[in-house]
Symmetry: none
Subunit: 199 residues, 4 copies
DNA sequence: CATGAATGAGGTTTCATTCAT
DNA sequence: AATGAATGAAACCTCATTCAT
């Protein structure tokens, strides 16, 4: 494949690797698999990445990074609820537009202290931090009952999103579509979390 | 002496394997690791299990099996809500009493079509099925608004439990304790899902 | 080769490795080559040695170690010349009885600061140290002219032995035999170094 | 500009290669290393040399060739001793003025039948041949005792020179200087080889 | 029943060499 | 002439599994 343009190579390999990782999982994916899918020789791959781990890390870092970056911090000039919904929409957008990567991050939650966990744990920690911050503000305002355990509620919300994303990502036949989730994200009212599951 | 303990050997290996799998993850765990932890020779291990996968599968099957088995189907002789809460409590019990196994099932959610997914997917499918069944009944009774997407709500509930279990299982320092979750499970009102996060 | 006795395996591998290293040199020798020669599976070799380097190091360390150990330090109870000759004889013995290893240490004198040099340099340094010590004593006694540069003379002697050993070791057809050298070693008179080459 | 310097390119690469080979040894030196040092692209290098081996061979051939060429064959018009000393001086000159190349030829004495040995063995054989020729003449003249094993004496002399050159070449800190050797070479008396090490 | 030495398939990685630009 | 991205053969090493004792 001497014809492909240099600057594309890296992206090409990343895209193919994402597909293979999504399909087979990290461990079951061999460098050979990625090479075949990318139509690239083994040695070529090593020109762009240090090793298999590096490819995976790059994918994860790019994806989680862009999700985190799209989340805007709270400003006082706008209702909190509006900002929250906008951020949720962006995240749902990121997820729906990258099925492969979503599948990877919701499926490769390997054992703690193991290979990649650190990144993922950090990523989820940031999301929780964000949600918890928003909920705490609302609680201070009296919009959320003081009896609510804000930390647990944050986990609940994160778990909800992860689970739906997971079910969607592993759904080979596309039985589950993300439209309802998108609607929910738009109209989501924190104070009425139960409503989340409504249409 | 040794012969009388035959069945013990198997259990011993399983218990040790659970610990190692929980700590290192499936792939990073070698047969050697399990042998060392179990104080058993390599050949011996293969007298009790077909292969590494078999050990893992047995652990998962036992654990998910007992969780499923503890869930009693609905009878008409008792309020649905009561039955639901009892089942949730049993499940939370199972989880809190088996931290290693919990960690494994929430952490090894490898990619679809890969090695172990089938079991886990089936397990979660059954949980969803149960929850969805309950919610549907409630919806028919008019206890839940007809606008609610019951399937999404089920995923939300499952995701919530998984996430909290995950955070608890990977929490090395035991910062997070499960008591709030246990209380919630006992008093959980489906119709007021938001309350779940309260204390 | 499940029949070979455990304790022999290591020695068997070392002996075969010595032959292959002697024939092809370190770099041209692959683990495969050693396995074939030893009639041992690849994995088996790694039960006994960490890697190729470890095998080589072990060989060198054993051989140079035994040469050094056979050299007895000077005592005052015996004429220096006698002790010196005895040590030379032992060394020549060690060399002649281990053609493979001799070939390796005289042929693999790779570039400084590179992989194995340290050991070899240290080994030769010790030999020089020994010789220099003896010569210095003789010089103090007046047996060797004060004009002689003892350090250079030591190198000369070491170089002489190395070169003859080298020529013998690389001599496939055994044209050169070591008997003259053995005789020389026995009758060697330091003060009359020129005589060394006599019969 | 560039075209005029075509021949320079080759020399430039050779000089840089010598440095790298001397520092790292043949095997540890990669084509990349040589390219970096020479500030030349990989493909360019292959315009001037067939392969890595070719570069190395060229270096060795040039150096050993010039040493051999500088040795003048014996004429009857001049005392043998004088001619011998002049030749030794030339050789010592060649050595001292090319530390990199000297280091290479004394350090890369890889195993027989291996890659480059042939050249080196031939080179040393020629030196021995020359020395042996001279000694034999002297022996015929009665200048050297008939009891002397001329072949061994030749090896001894060659080994001496190689060893001193080796110690000098690998001596990073320049503790050992070649001046004594140069003096020795000038005043060297074969019949009094022992004196060689004097100052 | 129990052992653990031996196996070898299968993976990762390197690097001399080529060739389209 | 010069370039350097691409190649792929060949090496290393691991580890689940077997089997003679």
């Amino acid at each position: 494949m001497r014809t492909a343009k240099k600057e594309n190579r890296r992206e090409q390999i990343l895209a193919c690797a994402a597909k293979v990782f999504a399909k087979k999982g990290y461990h079951a994916t061999s460098i050979s698999d990625i090479c075949k899918k990318s139509d690239v020789a083994r040695g070529t791959l090593y020109l762009y990445f240090e090793n298999k781990r590096d490819i995976f890390d790059t994918l994860i870092k790019n994806f989680t990074g862009s999700i985190i970056q799209d989340i805007t911090m709270f400003s006082k000039d706008e209702p909190l609820q509006l900002q929250f919904n906008r951020n949720m929409c962006k995240m749902v957008d990121n997820i729906t537009q990258n099925k492969d990567l979503t599948k990877i991050i919701v499926s490769e939650a390997v054992g703690l202290d193991s290979e990649f966990d650190h990144q993922l744990i950090l990523f989820y920690a940031r999301l929780v931090e964000y949600v918890e911050g928003a909920l705490t503000m609302l609680q201070k305002n009296g919009d959320i009952s003081a009896h609510i355990n804000v930390r647990l509620l944050s986990y609940s919300l994160l778990g909800t999103i992860k689970e739906i994303a997971y079910q969607w990502a592993i759904d080979g036949g596309n039985v589950l579509d993300m439209d309802p989730l998108i609607k929910v994200a738009k109209n989501f009212k924190i104070q009425n979390y139960i409503a989340f599951a409504g249409e």
